[in-house]
């Protein structure tokens, strides 16, 4: 019969009236985000970065600017470059994450925030100082070692540079894929990672994010 649809429609809306609101009152409550969320505030570990500029090369928009300084280092001995400039122009970033995928040393991570709104485009450039100082809540995007450790950037603690690399992921350790850190770096900090990189069996758990995030 014509017109029955109208009654049905009324029932449908009435059902929706009884449901709980789907929206979240943003400043007070926040929607739960996936740990793989590709947010702003890129997380960068200077200790892991060699200044290879892979991220800048792979960026489809060319918005990463890196200036390295090879002086006072010994690159031919495996030493890393010092970085003078590392600018990411967030205003044009599309958060594809290709820079993170390109990073061979797990030095660059997507961030977990989304509240970097500014009043002018000039302010929307993340400089090297901001990258150094910001709290490290790396997204688990393209970082299976963080994901298997069940790290959640939204409620987890900030991670140290020793805890985020692929060498701290045991499965990779057995594949001997985590041997990339320069000896000099290890020697400087001297501690936990040295044993980890030299130990094939993967017994060391000092830098295991699983342990630390619990």
């Amino acid at each position: 019969m014509y017109g029955m649809g109208m009654a049905k429609g009324l029932l449908v809306t009435l059902k929706n009236l009884a449901k709980r609101p789907f929206t979240v009152q943003y400043p007070e409550d926040r929607a739960v985000q996936h740990p793989r969320f590709r947010g702003e505030e890129f997380v960068w570990y200077e200790e892991r970065c060699t200044g290879c500029a892979s991220c800048a090369k792979y960026c489809p928009l060319g918005i990463i600017k890196i200036v390295t300084d090879p002086s006072q280092t010994a690159p031919d001995q495996g030493d890393k470059y010092r970085l003078d400039v590392f600018d990411i122009e967030l205003a044009r970033c599309m958060f594809c994450g290709l820079c993170v995928e390109a990073c061979p040393y797990d030095a660059l991570f997507m961030g977990s925030g989304f509240e970097q709104g500014r009043y002018s485009r000039k302010e929307m450039v993340i400089g090297i100082d901001q990258l150094r100082q910001s709290e490290k809540h790396p997204s688990t995007f393209f970082r299976p070692q963080l994901e298997s450790a069940r790290y959640n950037p939204h409620d987890g603690r900030p991670l140290d540079w020793r805890e985020v690399g692929r060498e701290s992921w045991r499965w990779h350790q057995r594949e001997k894929a985590g041997m990339r850190l320069t000896p000099r770096l290890d020697a400087e900090d001297g501690g936990s990672l040295q044993s980890e990189t030299q130990d094939d069996s993967g017994q060391d758990t000092a830098a295991d994010p699983v342990e630390n995030s619990r």
Binding site: M1, Y2, G3, M4, M6, G9, L10, V12, T13, L14, N16, L17, K19, R20, P21, F22, T23, Q25
Partner: protein, 407 residues
Amino acid sequence: MNCVLTPDNILYHTPLYRVVYDLVGAFLPCWLAYVIAGLVIMFILANAVLLGAAVFVWSERRLLGRFHNRVGPNRWGPFGVFQPFADLLKLVFKEDLTPATADRIAFLIAPVAMLAPAILMLAVVPFTKDTALANLNVGVLYILAVTSLTSVAILMAGWSSNNRYAMFGAARGVAVLISYEVPVVLCLLGVVMVAGSMSLDDVVGAQAIPFILVQPLAFFVFLAGVSAELNRTPFDVAEAESELVAGYHTEYSGVKFALIQAAEFGGVVTASAVIVTLFLSGWTGPAADYLGWLWFLLKVAAVAFLFIWARATYPRLRVDQLMAFAWKFLLPLSLINLLATALEVYFLRDATGTLTTNDLWIMAGINFALTFGCVALFGSMIREKVRPLRPRSTTRGGTAVTMGEVT
């Protein structure tokens, strides 16, 4: 100063007016007391409509939000109750623009003329026992006369704006108003026949059982017609946002826009009050002498919820569908209702022309059967005009050719 309101005065039958008049008349000259009592009544009336509009705007936005699985406005005040006042404040401080080519006088008068019917309509509605602000013996007629003013106001707003969208909206609005007035008036006739009076106080008094049971068809048609006259969403072709920019109030801004909005939403409140009075037995209920106002408000809220519910559910009708709905569906239904009611009243009333409660129950039974029968009949008679296109094939020269293909 011994002022006495004589029974030949039209306001003598308004107890509220007499109370104020006696109070003020004790120490003021009679003519001043007369004026002041009138001003007090007007103040109550205007504020009732405007505050009602504010409350309705808030509840509509909250409820629509919940219908859409949102929360709705919740920033200012508990549950966002002060949101309408924030909106009003914003509109008051906005620049009041008048188009250079507008007819300035009509442009200025139109919002006021739109708000006036909404306020005036409430004057004859009894809030509780003996509180109708003007207890007219032709209350129903008065309501019809006053609501017709809206079409003039809409035409004024649309024409004076000198804007084609406004003119489109106004033309549509007036067409809708005039079309839907016919079934609405015919429905009211049924109610008046059963009640035996045009005074809203008497209509309330006659409702031993609510007239929604006695006149279900009239209630349904009246609800649809009123929601069309108020430009509510299933029928809001006059201000269709997606077709015309904003319809007849495209060019309005600032305080005038606020007035138009207040007229629209206040109109819903007053229309709900009228529906409650005519069909839901007004302020009567348990302990009505003390709690009449509460029952009245609850019923108004229920009817307003119906309006909001319909708005959340139905998409906007096309203009031709709207006209067809009025002339092909509502008008026959109201005519059937009128005929049935007239026959029932003629055969059921006793020698003095009154109907007992038993008679009303009998009428309710007959009319409910009639309603379901009519709706089922009309529902089965209406067919979709536009059928989906099926590819037709024909043979031409021995080979099958699909029509429409270039061969």
